[in-house]
Structures are given as structure tokens and as C-alpha cells.
Amino acid sequence: MVRHDKDLDLSVELCGIPLQTPLIPASGTLSREALGEVEGVYGAMLPKTTTPVERAGNPPPRVAETPAGMVNSIGLQNPGVERFLQGLDAFDLGIPIFVSVAGDTTAEFASLCERIGDDDRISAVELNLSCPNVECGGLAFCAGPASVEDVVGACRAALPDKPMLAKLTNEGVVENARAAESAGADGLTVINTLPALTIDVQAQKILVRGGLSGPAIKPVALRAVYDVAGAVNVPVVGSGGVASGTDVAEFMLAGATAVQVGTTSFVRDPHDILAEFAEYLVARGQGAARLTGALRGVRPTVVGGTDV
């Protein structure tokens, strides 16, 4: 499958955790049933976000295709943290297991962190801050830096002993990244899906209102990773539209230490993505870890905004 050149070093270290490859499945995009297909690809495992109690999720339709992407509105369907933890062994592929958590309130986030802090099977936690904060009228936890600082700080206190990543959306990502860092996040996952809407033009109805993912958002995610990596000192995990080995390299060049593969894993064998990434490294005799942030300093001549 993946050709492992003897000199090829695919490993990276993320928040002190050695990963055999820089790839991680994006939360919510790899099921237990599909684990048999991904052996050897990932550096860590990351199941779908879990919440304090079971969530039924949203009624269908939940997914709609868009140009080079898709919009989903799953609604965080999950069995709740207790049953989630009971089933966690199924996710043991011999690589570190990260767990994504979300609550409706800061207290729920903190109690999830506390619950998980005890579990030795779990190497790190990802806080899914894109979910709606019921204390803030349904705005996402990462709608603003104050709210980010609050929830990350509470989670830090509840989870002193495990690395903790804060996963941010694109809107306000740099300020939120700074806030998460100062509140004690060990790393940042950048970005979640973009708020989006699809319409059934024949029925003249909304099809799916939810989050846009896939290759379409890659340039947006790259800009977010690049800017965040330039603004904080903690490692950044890239997410958004990764579809090929060179995409992985692009995210690392932009400053990511590890890279998540989400939607594209629905339409491509992620082994192929890893193989292409390995080829890229072999062709230039670079180890994976050396890519991180390699284009920093090589700034564009003019940092233009949008045009504008």
C-alpha cells in the first residue's frame, strides 16, 4: 500500500504525542464500521463528537452536494458520552485516540473533560467549539474570544493532564485562536465547516442548511491555518478540504503540525492520500515534520486583502 522508503520519515509530534503520520480523521467523518479500511493511514484516531447525553440529530435530508464540496446538517447525532466510552475500544487501532467533545454550556464542556480525564485510553481531547452555546442565545462557543476563553479555561481546569485542542470555525479565527491559547489550549484545530445553505430549486425549498466542507473550502482553511500559525505558539492541526497528498503538504507548509482528512475520505481511499504525501516527501528528501511552517518568512510581496 503506502511505500515506506527506509529514509522516509512520516512521523510528527503533536502536543508531545508522537504520531506515525500527520493524518488524523476529521471528527464526524469516520465510522466504527469503516475502520477496517484505514489501517496504517492515520497518526491518531478521532471519532465523532460526543455530548453529555444522547442526541438524535436533525431530520433528513442531512447532506447535499455542492460544487467541489458538500453541506451537512447532522446535528451532532451521538449516543452520549457514557455509551460512547463503552464503545471506544472499537476505535483502538493501536494509535493514540483523541476524543472530540461538545456541550450546550461551559459547565457541560468542563464535565465532559473531567469525565474523560480519567480514561487512560484517551490521549487527547478536541473541544468542538463550533456547536451552539445555549447560554449565548445559540451563537457558537467560538463566536467570540470571550466565550472561547471562558470555555477553554473551564476545560483546562477540568482536564489538567491531557493535551487539549480547541477546534475553531473560520469566522474570527485569529482572535479566537489567541483566546484559546491564552486560556490554556495545547493546540488548535482549524477550521470546522463554513455556515452554508443549499436550495432545491425545483421544489423551491431549502434542501440543507448546515456546514460546507470538502475541496471547495481548502483555500479558506489554508488562509486560516496560515494566519493562526502566525499568531500563536501552540501547534495547529489543519482541517478543511484536504483531498490529496499535496494538500496535506500545503497545510503543513502553511503551518499545520498535523492534518485532518474529512469529507474526501468519503470519495477516496485515504491510503492514496498518504501515499501521495509520501511521494512528495521522497521526491524532495524532506521528512514530514520539516514541512511545518516552511513557507513562513516567504511571505507574498503584498499581503492583499480580498479584492476589494
Binding site: 464526524g28 467523518t29 465510522s31 464500521e33 469503516a34 433528513p60 447532506v63 490529496s244 475520505s265 477516496r268
Partner: protein
């Protein structure tokens, strides 16, 4: 998900539908489906997602799909000489233990899985009748592949006028009812079968992101269990389980 590149061995127009055959060894259960797309570069961006199709037939070496061109995914599939497919996915129709007498009800392109289902029932010696409903004559051409099938068309151009339930089918005469078609038709079949004491199974159609359980996109409401993924626990469900 891993896709396999295969050559299209045959493509045949059956009225408004297309029959496509490609080499595939191994076992396919009736009612299972495949994610398929025209072959592209490492991935295709347009369309981005693969499309779910029921197996129309499988003889151990060759798989057949029957499809209707609706949008871009099916249009490209209709023109491709090489396609990319997953292995068989999902759970099909319950044919073991074999019922004594079965009715197969198909609506539109939903007739597809009834061909392979019929063959499996045949192999088990199950007497079965096929009832098919179509929009119009063009769609009904495929009925020729189901010898003895009773046909209805909405425009009345072929067979009875109306839906598959207007073919004169007597659900009470059967031990098992297997149905595939648009969800509103399935809901009607479920309702009609509710009074009879029969096994009634429906192959449902939900939008799919992945086909292998990863996205939670394709859910169907199931009594007492909330939303369950039709690509893993379906696409075939017991009618009484579905909370429509």
C-alpha cells in the same frame, strides 16, 4: 472509502433507463447497493460525491445496475467507459427463511433491485409475482425484463392507470412483500400492508454522503431507535420499523 476501477462491459438502453454491466466477483445480496461514479482523476470534483445504486443483478462475475439519468452524476455514468465502484454495501432483503409466496412491488427506477431479488427467490423455490408502477411508457420498457409482471402507469399509456397499488395486487395473498421505489410510494405500500399479517420490507432512498456509515447523512427514523443510517442498517428495512 476505497473505490475500484472497472470497465463497463455492456450498456443498454431500456426505454428511459440504462442497464450497465461491469465485472464484479464475490457475493452480492439482493437489496444491497453500491456507490458508483464515472472514473475521473484521483477524484472527481464535479460531481464530488459518488452515487448510490441498487444492484439490478449479479451472476457471480458480472454486476448490473439499472439507472435513470437525473443529474450530472448519472449523466456521466451514462457516458463512461470506465467507472469506479465500491464493494456491495448495506443490508438487503430478508429472503431466509424463505417465504412461501412473495409480492415484489417496484415503482419507477425502484424496480432495479427486484430483478436480483426475483432470482434469489427463484433459487429458493419461492413463488413470486411482480407488480410495477411507472410514470409513463418510456419508463415501463424495463417491465419487459420481468416476465409476467403486472404494470401500471400514471399516465395510463401502458397497463393499468395509476400506481403500483392500482395493478390489482392483493397484498393479503402473500407471505412477504418486498418493495422499492420513491419514499412516498413506500409509505403507501406500508400503509396498505399494515392490515395484512405479512412480512413487508422496503428499500428506502435517502441522500448519502459516504455509503459506509461515516457521515450519518442517510438516516431513516426507526421506531424506538431514533435516526438510523440506511447505508449500514438498510437500505432495506422492515416496514413496521420505519417511523414514517
Amino acid at each position: 472509502m476505497k473505490f475500484y476501477k472497472v470497465n463497463v462491459e455492456e450498456r443498454r438502453e431500456l426505454g428511459s433507463y440504462t442497464l450497465l454491466r461491469y465485472p464484479w466477483e464475490g457475493i452480492v445480496a439482493p437489496g444491497q447497493f453500491v456507490m458508483a461514479r464515472a472514473a475521473g482523476f484521483p477524484i472527481t470534483l464535479d460531481p464530488f460525491l459518488a452515487r448510490p445504486f441498487s444492484y439490478y443483478d449479479h451472476d457471480g462475475e458480472t454486476a448490473s445496475l439499472l439507472f435513470e439519468v437525473r443529474g450530472r452524476g448519472t449523466a456521466l455514468l451514462d457516458a463512461a467507459s470506465t467507472i469506479e465502484v465500491t464493494p456491495p454495501l448495506g443490508k438487503g432483503f430478508a429472503v431466509d427463511p424463505a417465504p412461501a409466496r412473495a409480492a415484489l412491488l417496484g415503482g419507477g427506477i425502484g424496480v432495479a433491485p427486484l430483478q436480483i431479488l426475483g432470482r434469489h427467490l427463484e433459487a429458493r423455490g419461492v413463488t413470486h409475482d411482480v407488480f410495477l408502477g411507472f410514470a409513463d411508457a418510456g419508463c415501463s420498457v424495463v417491465a419487459g425484463e420481468f416476465p409476467g409482471a403486472r404494470v401500471a402507469t400514471v399516465d395510463g399509456s401502458v397497463g393499468h392507470q395509476g400506481t403500483v397499488l392500482d395493478t390489482g395486487v392483493e397484498l393479503g395473498d402473500y407471505d412477504a412483500i418486498y418493495s422499492c421505489g420513491p419514499n412516498p410510494m413506500l409509505a403507501a405500500v406500508k400503509l396498505a400492508a399494515a392490515d395484512e399479517n405479512v412480512l413487508c420490507q422496503l428499500s428506502v432512498e435517502e441522500r448519502m454522503g459516504c455509503g459506509n456509515g461515516s457521515c450519518n447523512g442517510c438516516v431513516v427514523p426507526v421506531h424506538g431507535r431514533g435516526y438510523v443510517r440506511s447505508c449500514i442498517e438498510g437500505p432495506v428495512f422492515d416496514a413496521e420499523a420505519v417511523a414514517w
